[in-house]
């Protein structure tokens, strides 16, 4: 009986095939042909940017998508991670390219890789995932089941089933927030591949599915990481680091009025310092209204650690807006362990009862042990905390070069003396030396020794202004090698509301300075200084510059402690000694 049934079907299909040409000629609606042509055109236009990724030994694999013509391509962390530092990538021109790991985001399940050997790679156009609507057509492309040996991407076509979806972390990582749910078939091997809208714009990176039912094949529910999340992380990803997501330092839950309230808050968190307290109702976050806990987690999950975002809370019918600097979601060692660098922290058991769609498995994955290609092996530098330190060095060089071009004081490594007036009239003299910092302000004198090793909040209530000026001197005199740690972080909006800035981070004896360079003209806007990781910030902004022998030096400096103004210094006289002079 069963056989008859199938024969029946065969017959039907044959009949269909016979009938189809006749119908096609007779009655095809032009709109159908136009829609078909549009699909064909879109697929033709975007297919060259789709990458088939294989481990160095040709084993394992997944998908990816090229986003810059010099070869930067996005994929999943869970695809790149087992593939080794060097990979092989196939494009639909049938060629296989070498590629190197750039950075990883283990929480967001994103990795950035760089294809090598060309500067004119075909790229995907980035869309805006916030405009994606349920019901929109969506193309998933990639290499499911590693079917394509000629690297022609497989295309699956479906609709958007849901937007702004939240998918619980697998363990403590691989959390999909604000993601796009599609019924386009997502199968093993699709991981890391692009999701395009019907205009051929990249709206997401496919990475996950609800697989618990059918043994790890498409079940009609696939999830893509939104491209807007990746845009926030873009410069962080170019830093070569193991990047982290953010935490507020407070937890929220739904109260019986369906309001979202703060139920726990850490006293050392920036949110607490800015005034957020237990029981406050969260009204909006990052400009989006908050109506559910998932919504809050969705928004928090798309921003990098260290970003400053606006948060509106309500207490006693009064609404207050604060700008909160987000802390890191994971400790450095947790991140490194997840990225496969160290194994220190015992694995946290996942919460029971969490339903978590599994990331797509890596077909035939095996740790690659193939040596890197000789030609490219200089493109990988191993360092703790980095996926590939080589790319961080390139970014450091870019910003330091820009600083050097406008403000080169590298021949002035001796003592510095800055004198001038505070905006309200008091005169000051600031003396910067290797042994210590001295600050005379009116009749007061403040000292910070640099030999005892103890950094102080001097003058009191500034967050360590004197120690901050020590970092200032080291950076401006080209002595970055004297920092214990110095790296490029990525980009963020200055103070959460101003222009996008590139960020360099300098650390010495636990004190941290973050240096802000305008993203478009690379001018230095100022820096934030923290005596320790959880201290309140001493925010220093350069408002005016003066020119000394053709080199720019700050002449007006605004100092804030947290969000409270402390002082404004006008520098009138600058004496910068060379190392030899100082020794005399």
């Amino acid at each position: 009986m069963q056989r008859t049934f199938f024969c029946d079907r065969c017959f039907t299909s044959i009949l269909m095939l016979l009938l189809l040409p006749a119908f096609a000629q007779a009655a095809v609606d032009p709109a159908v042909l136009a829609a078909q042509k549009q699909r064909v055109d879109v697929i033709k236009a975007v297919s060259p940017s789709v990458v088939a990724i294989f481990g160095a030994a040709g084993k394992g694999g997944g998908s990816g998508v090229l986003v810059t013509s010099d070869g930067f391509a996005l994929t999943n962390f869970h695809v790149a991670s087992p593939s080794g530092n060097f990979m092989k990538c196939g494009l639909n021109d049938g060629k296989l390219y070498d590629a190197v790991i750039v950075s990883v985001d283990p929480t967001g399940d994103i990795a950035l890789i760089k294809l090598l050997g060309r500067t004119d790679f075909p790229v995907a156009r980035l869309g805006n995932s916030d405009t994606v609507k349920v019901g929109d057509w969506a193309y998933a492309m990639g290499n499911p089941f590693l079917l394509a040996t000629d690297f022609q991407p497989t295309i699956t076509y479906g609709i958007v089933s849901g937007v702004h979806r939240y998918q619980y972390p697998a363990g403590t990582f691989l959390e999909y927030t604000d993601c796009i749910q599609v019924d386009s078939s997502i199968n093993p091997g699709n991981s890391g591949g692009p999701l395009f809208n019907d205009q051929g714009e990249l709206i997401g990176i496919n990475g996950r599915g609800s697989f618990e039912k059918r043994g790890r094949v498409n079940s009609g529910a696939g999830y893509a990481i939104s491209i807007n999340q990746i845009k926030h992380f873009w410069d962080h990803l170019k830093s070569g680091r193991i990047v982290d997501h953010a935490a507020l330092g407070a937890t929220v839950s739904t109260d019986f009025d369906s309001k979202i309230d703060v139920t726990e808050i850490l006293e050392e968190s920036d949110a607490f310092r800015k005034g957020l307290r237990l029981g406050d109702e969260i009204v909006s976050f990052a400009g989006r209204p908050i109506r559910s806990v998932n919504q809050f987690k969705n928004i928090l999950g798309i921003y990098p650690a260290g970003w400053t975002l606006p948060l509106v809370y309500r207490r006693d019918e009064k609404k207050t807006t604060i700008y909160v600097r987000l802390q890191a979601l994971h400790s450095a060692s947790e991140l490194q362990k997840q990225a496969g660098q160290k194994k220190i922290i015992p694995e946290k058991p996942s919460k029971p009862g969490d339903k978590k769609p599994s990331p797509m498995p890596h077909p035939h994955a095996k740790q690659a042990a193939t040596p890197p290609p000789e030609k490219y092996k200089h493109l990988y530098i191993s360092k703790t905390g980095f996926a590939n330190y080589y790319f961080n060095q390139r970014q450091q060089d870019r910003l330091l070069q820009a600083l050097n071009d406008s403000s080169n004081f590298s021949d002035r490594k001796g003592n510095w003396s800055l004198t001038g007036k505070q905006i309200d009239g008091d005169e000051f003299t600031l003396t910067l030396a290797d042994k210590g910092i001295g600050f005379e302000l009116g009749n007061d004198v403040y000292l910070q020794s640099l030999e005892s090793g103890m950094l102080l909040d001097e003058p009191p209530g500034t967050g360590g202004l004197l120690a901050a000026f020590h970092h200032f001197r080291l950076l401006f005199s080209g002595q970055t090698a004297r920092f214990t740690d110095f790296y490029y972080l990525g980009s963020e909006h200055l103070d959460g509301k101003n222009e996008l800035v590139d960020v360099l981070v300098a650390i010495q004896t636990g004190a941290i300075s973050r240096w802000y360079f305008n993203k478009s003209d690379l001018s230095l806007k100022g820096f934030d200084f923290y005596l320790t990781e959880n201290s309140e910030v001493c925010a220093i902004r350069f408002e005016q510059f003066q020119t000394l022998k053709g080199q720019k030096f700050p002449s007006e400096i605004n100092v804030q402690y947290g969000d409270r103004p402390v002082m404004k210094l006008k520098i009138e006289q600058v004496k910068l000694e060379t190392l030899e002079n100082s020794k005399k």
Binding site: D8, L15, L19, V28, V134, G162, S219, A221, T254, R291
Partner: protein, 347 residues
């Protein structure tokens, strides 16, 4: 066989023609349909949550007062049935009635105020043939919580047909017509959702997760609204008579004893094949003395395999006064057997 072929050819012609007459503004109208449908779908949370018994399902509003059509499933077997609307409003709900034969249940939101909710007109009995494009709405995998809308899938009706249950392939009590679709609607929590045409006509209710016992494949099917419509109306208006009650007594087998005559209270028989778990044991009863406990699963009665509460009932019914009753139950993966004397019949 011949007639069959002709029928398939006809189906296939329909398929071609309907595929060719896809409206120009297919997407525009599907967007409108999605916006129309999502506020009419609800997320249902009830009993379950262990192993393959999911504690959630989907339903759709069929009246402005909060009547909801959904799948008749163990999810509803609780006093704390909770329904979340598309806007995040959460209600308690009660089961108003069910037509187990159609896998249909109607639940109603408990509310002190008059509700004026958007709803589907189930009496507009739209019918569609193979090739019709559909949208499926369900909270599969419980992706949506709170004020998030349920998931939307797209697909095509492959056939309106009887599932070949008569061949013993699908474990289903319902034997009438269903829509078989190519959207993957057969997922945890999807049952009770709705399928609609692209232009917004309610076609049916997504069926429960069944699979072909022979090929181990899942089938994506929905129960047609034209079949459900009458029962929905009867349950809402309170004029309902279950088709189960109308059925003549299923067996000629005697029913001399019921489980309760031995002190057994079984779990509610809500499934086509409800496993014969003991819900509670009457204190001081025969089985209590013999050491049976709640949650024991009855596996054998006098060497007859007990597949469900129904077979237990019929096996016990056959007993006669003075018989030896040999019971084998499973408790925490251990088989425990015991024997007791059948008491005199209680007339």
């Amino acid at each position: 066989m011949k007639e069959n072929t002709v029928k398939s050819a006809f189906v296939c012609l329909c398929l071609i023609t309907s595929a060719l007459t896809v409206p120009v503004s297919a997407q525009a109208s599907s967007q409108a349909t999605i916006q129309h449908a999502l506020p009419r779908l609800v997320k249902i949370f009830g009993a379950g949550g262990v192993k393959n018994l999911y504690g959630y399902s989907t339903g759709f509003l069929v009246s402005p007062q909060g009547h909801i059509a959904t799948i008749w499933s163990p999810v509803l077997d609780t006093d704390r049935l909770s329904v979340v609307l598309h806007d995040g409003r959460r209600f308690e709900a009660e089961v108003l009635g069910a037509e187990p034969h159609l896998d249909l249940a109607i639940i109603k939101l408990k509310s002190e105020h008059e509700l004026k909710l958007p709803y589907f007109d189930y009496q507009n009995k739209a019918i569609a043939g193979a090739g019709t494009r559909i949208l499926g709405f369900s909270n599969m995998f419980r992706v949506a919580t709170g004020d998030e809308p349920v998931s939307v899938l797209h697909g095509v009706i492959e056939a309106r047909t009887e599932l070949p249950r008569r061949r013993g392939a699908f474990e289903l009590s319902y034997t009438g017509d269903v829509y078989v679709v190519d959207a993957i609607t057969n997922n945890p929590g999807a049952a009770g959702g709705a399928i609609l045409t692209y232009d917004g006509k309610l076609l049916g209710m997504i069926g429960k997760q069944v699979r072909n016992a022979k090929t181990n494949t899942w089938v994506n099917y929905s129960l047609p609204i034209d079949v459900l419509s009458k029962s929905i109306e009867q349950i809402i208006t309170g004029k309902y008579e279950s088709s189960e009650n109308q059925k003549k007594p299923e067996t000629e087998t005697p029913e001399r004893y019921r489980p309760v005559d031995f002190g057994l209270v079984m779990v509610p028989d809500v499934l086509y094949r409800t496993p014969a778990f003991i819900d509670s044991v009457l204190p001081g009863s025969l089985v209590a003395k013999a050491g049976l406990r709640p949650d024991d699963l009855v596996v054998f009665v006098n060497d007859e395999l007990i597949k469900s509460c129904k077979t237990l009932k019929s096996e016990l019914g056959k007993l006669e006064s003075g018989d030896q009753l040999r019971l084998v139950v499973r408790r925490d993966n251990q088989l425990i057997s015991l024997e007791l004397q059948v008491p005199p019949e209680n007339k």
